[in-house]
């Protein structure tokens, strides 16, 4: 067992109001620069919907993530190493700016400089790509709140996977928001595809970063990431991505998107995982087994054996304690309500989601029944196959059982806690038992999901400067990493120098 630490996030989708505050604050922090106008490290999509960039989940088209060969080995869906190099001069499946959207500004000067005239001057939209006047026809959230209707929504690749009947009923049945950042995967396809070895995973906290000094602009990562969370800066010629706000995390502060989230639905914390098992877990044959394989990678931080293994890897006491207090393990393992996004891409994503129960509640309420009642909800989860099936395509490679389990637990919590909050004499403990939880579990889950304070939602141990040197010594690389060796980017080969996630623009430089 080789224990490594990973900063992970859980988002409780029930509470997302789709306000895009997270996206805007993230943009103001990281991507309000020329060349990155079109990039949203954090974006919020309405589902069903095409997402951003359009239809990115259609991996037959975009070739993101990994494929498993019959012999059990994984290779990048876009092609192996040789093919990757052979197509280096022009990436055959790179999304164009139109697949994201053409960024624009307005000719604001017109508003103040226009000569006196009969008609009010207008600020025309100007493309930031061509510099010309443009018509705005798409954006990162053009289909927000199902805008554009069924024509747009039915092009959702997730929806297209479902049966015809489902599609039609679906449009009437529900909608929810899906905020997305880079998943800081345990088996990142982006890093594997980078010809320069510029993308690396930090050995201390698992944050995946692009070394701006080593990136040479080959654009392979853009294709390889199945979540399309690598953005090519067309001004600097370098790839950029979500940094998990590492300068903040290092001093114990939450990411900007979490800090500013209006719904307070994001949880941050450390998890331990077994680095030796990652590849094995990512290669299991049946896609439906991927969820459990990924869950099993996340180790119980209270298990004395895990603690001992963590200590022997040089993980410090306060980090171990932080992992023990982390809300993430609780949501994944104890309450079993957090699920990964698209485990079938086999990158082992580390941003997890509590699936939304609200579509079910809404549809029960619409039929005139009590949407908070446990029995009504359970019955609805069973009968409302459509939302469950859709959520399963998102979170469990299409297996409805784990989604149903999570939703039933959320429903049980609602119903039980309502009894408690209404001061009923004997709250019905059988609802909890019916979903395999104790009353105590339900109370704890409710506290975490509904009441948790800042320091309970974000359990972030500050980084240790002295630790970096010690961790460098652990065997995370291969023997080729050594000095003069070809294992570019392994520990030690770059003299430990790691570039910032942000470009250091030279003053006065034109490009």
């Amino acid at each position: 067992m080789r224990v490594m630490a990973q900063m992970a996030m859980v988002m409780n989708l029930d509470k997302c109001i789709g306000c895009h505050t997270c996206s805007v604050t993230c943009k103001q922090t990281w991507t309000n620069r020329a060349g990155m106008e079109y990039a949203w490290f954090n974006n919020v999509e309405t589902r069903p919907g095409q997402g951003y960039p359009r239809t990115y989940e259609d991996q037959e088209k975009w070739k993101g993530g990994w494929t498993r060969h019959p012999n059990g080995r994984l290779s990048l869906k876009a092609g192996g190493r040789l093919k990757n190099l052979a197509t280096i001069f022009a990436n055959p499946v790179m999304p164009s700016i139109q697949d994201y959207y053409e960024p624009w500004t307005y000719d604001y000067r017109m508003l103040t400089n226009a000569p006196l005239q009969e008609h009010t001057p207008v600020a025309r939209p100007k493309s930031l790509i061509s510099g010309k006047d443009m018509r705005i026809t798409w954006s990162a959230n053009w289909d927000d709140n199902l805008a554009g209707g069924p024509e747009l929504a039915t092009q959702d690749p997730v929806l297209r996977k479902m049966s015809e009947k489902v599609k039609l009923e679906f449009e009437q049945s529900f909608m929810f928001y899906l905020p997305r950042i880079c998943e800081h995967c345990l088996n990142p396809a982006c890093a594997a595809a980078c010809p320069s070895g510029a993308i690396y995973k930090r050995s201390e906290d698992g944050i995946v970063l692009v070394d701006q000094d080593k990136c040479r602009g080959w654009r392979k990562c853009v294709t390889a990431c199945p979540y399309k969370k690598i953005y090519f800066n067309h001004k600097t010629g370098k790839a950029e991505k979500c940094t998990f706000c590492y300068p903040r995390i290092e001093v114990g502060m939450p990411t900007v998107c979490s800090e500013t989230c209006v719904g307070r639905l994001r949880y941050l914390g450390l998890v331990f995982y077994d680095a030796d098992k990652v590849l094995e877990a990512a290669s299991v044959e049946d896609e439906h087994d991927l969820l459990d394989a990924q869950r099993d990678l996340v180790l119980d931080p209270n298990d004395p054996e895990v603690v001992r293994a963590a200590e022997s890897e040089g993980i410090s006491r306060d980090w171990i304690e932080a992992a023990q207090r982390s809300p993430i393990w609780q949501l994944i393992h104890r309450f079993r309500v957090a699920l990964p996004l698209h485990p079938e891409y086999r990158t082992m994503p580390m941003v997890w989601y509590v699936p939304p129960l609200s579509p079910v509640v809404d549809s029960v309420a619409q039929t005139g029944f009590d949407g908070e009642d446990g029995d009504n909800l359970f019955a609805a989860i069973e009968s409302l196959r459509i939302p469950v099936e859709y959520l399963a395509e998102l979170f469990t490679a299409g297996d409805p059982a784990p989604v149903t389990e999570a939703l039933r637990r959320l429903a049980a919590m609602r119903s039980y806690m309502r009894d408690v909050n209404l001061g009923r004499e004997n709250p019905d403990a059988s609802v909890a038992e019916a979903v395999g939880m104790s009353v105590e579990d339900v109370h704890d889950m409710h506290r975490l999901l509904a009441l948790a304070k800042y320091e309970d939602r974000y359990v972030i141990p500050a980084a240790h400067t002295e630790q970096a040197h010690r961790l460098e010594a652990i065997a995370t690389g291969c023997s080729l990493d050594g000095e003069g060796g070809p294992g570019m980017g392994g520990p030690g080969s770059s003299g430990g120098k790691v570039g910032l996630g942000m470009p250091r623009l030279r003053p006065g430089s034109k490009r």
């Binding site: 001069f89 010629g237 570019m488 250091r504």
Partner: protein
Amino acid sequence: MNTIDLVLWVIAPYTCIAVFAVGHYWRYRYDQFGWTTLSSQLRESRLLRWGSPLFHFGILAVIGGHVVGLFIPKSWTAAVGITDEMYHVGAVGMGLVAGVATVTGLVLLIIRRRLVGPVFRVTSRMDKAMYLALGLVILTGMINTVHGNIIGHYDYRDGVAVWMRGLFVFDLHPELMAKAPLSFQAHTVAAYLLFALWPFTRLVHVFSAPVAYLWRPYLPYRSRDTGFGGRRERRGWERIDGSTR
């Protein structure tokens, strides 16, 4: 040998080689962030997908041909039993194919640069200078292939190649270049000027050809940077603990 020959075939080439070497060292040392292909594929993909592979594979073959033609003396190929005629046919044949691919690719890429608005908008003055030099070198090179081999006859392996190998061992033969046909002279001048320009353009990406990708581990782990802002300390401003990074 007059002064002009000395300048053209000794002083200028050495100056350009020096600029090439020192320029690359300087750029690599101080401008890692600017060291990139500066791809514009995000802005335009359709023309690029034809032009770029044509140009790149073509130019790789052309470079290979040059290495063989310029650096392998006639006596060596003769020793392994390749006659002049065989060599000639092979070189012209492969050279034409590679040349046509390169020129087609380059023309497509230049058309794309100029006519596709979003791409032209991010074309710097340095890019234009680079395209000009590259275009000249390739144009004169094509003229040489056609003119020197098919129409007329000039065996560069007895002239230009000997002069060039001499540059590297300080065995100078400017008189060989002075005797070469004008188009060969022009090609040579354009080439060394391109080399002088090289380190200051996006062409530096050639030296980052990621061959090591074929065997490096898929997932690089790296330790957190413990310095301040990832910047190397400047001389005289090192931290007190004396750690060298």
